[in-house]
């Protein structure tokens, strides 16, 4: 039972890299890219860059709603 990977080129990786990083590819396509990234320094660096940028973007803005909004919503729902 060898690990069969469809060899894919950098073009193909580039095309589906974002979906790959967002966890939106099926198992086989994910494994193909995993395999490519292990052997291609440029695509690996690109993937790391995109991953890191996404991580930074995730932290944008406040993490919490203002306390006043929470109180306002609680009051609002009490009144329903």
């Amino acid at each position: 039972m060898g690990n069969e990977h469809k060899p894919i080129d950098c073009e193909e990786v580039l095309r589906s890299l974002i979906s790959y990083l967002d966890g939106e590819l099926d198992k086989a396509a994910t494994a193909d890219i995993d395999h490519h990234l292990k052997h291609c320094r440029t695509c690996y660096s690109r993937a790391e860059f995109e991953r890191h940028l996404t991580e930074l973007s995730r932290k944008i803005g406040p993490s919490k709603a203002p306390a006043e909004l929470r109180r306002r919503l609680a009051r609002l729902v009490e009144g329903f």
């Binding site: 974002i18 979906s19 967002d22 966890g23 939106e24 440029t42 660096s45 690109r46 860059f49 995109e50 890191h52 940028l53 996404t54 930074l56 973007s57 995730r58 932290k59 944008i60 803005g61 406040p62 993490s63 919490k64 709603a65 203002p66 006043e68 909004l69 929470r70 306002r72 919503l73 609680a74 609002l76 729902v77 009490e78 329903f80």
Partner: protein
Amino acid sequence: MKEQTARRQDGEAGGDRRRLFQARVLDLTDGLYRVALRLTRHESDAEELVAEAVAKAWAALDSLEDESRFRPWIFSVLINTFRSHCRRRGRELSLDDCQDDAGGEPDFSLFDKLHQPFLLWWSNPEQDFLNKLLGEDLQRAVDSLSECYRAVVVLVILEGCSYQEAADILAIPIGTVRSRVKRGRSLMQKALWMHAREAGIHTATSETEGEM
């Protein structure tokens, strides 16, 4: 429908229903506010939008068929409330029409701008660039997107929604989410690049290269 409305008015069961709704809403308030803030880009507008959406959600609670879908359901109410705000201001299609997209311009990639394959191994200009980025730079880049890209970027990147969840929330096909996420990231990177150049954050190698 009628039966459920009757149940809502019926004391004990109605109280349970309200308590459950309240608990779920308070659970999701942070996420609702974050999305509202990036859509409206103003704190007080965002608070108004969330409060209005919660009131609408309560009024439309009977349309929630599956309790486990509460999160995408209430986010879709928030989005629709925002849509009607835009409509009121005469900007009917802002959330659903990516017309302002820069034509057939190819995707912009910061990595392609920064990466230098022949540098010595300890030099990493793309990492240096990320290290210099501030939260406010990223926020400005997201806010610079037109609403139609911003909505998808905010749901998928900031809130971690799956493409399917974002598609359900925005009531658009999943393929549209896929392409807008890609294009939205590209436009965001271009905004970061332009800002970095204006602010002189990135000057090292870029000046000698041609413009995109």
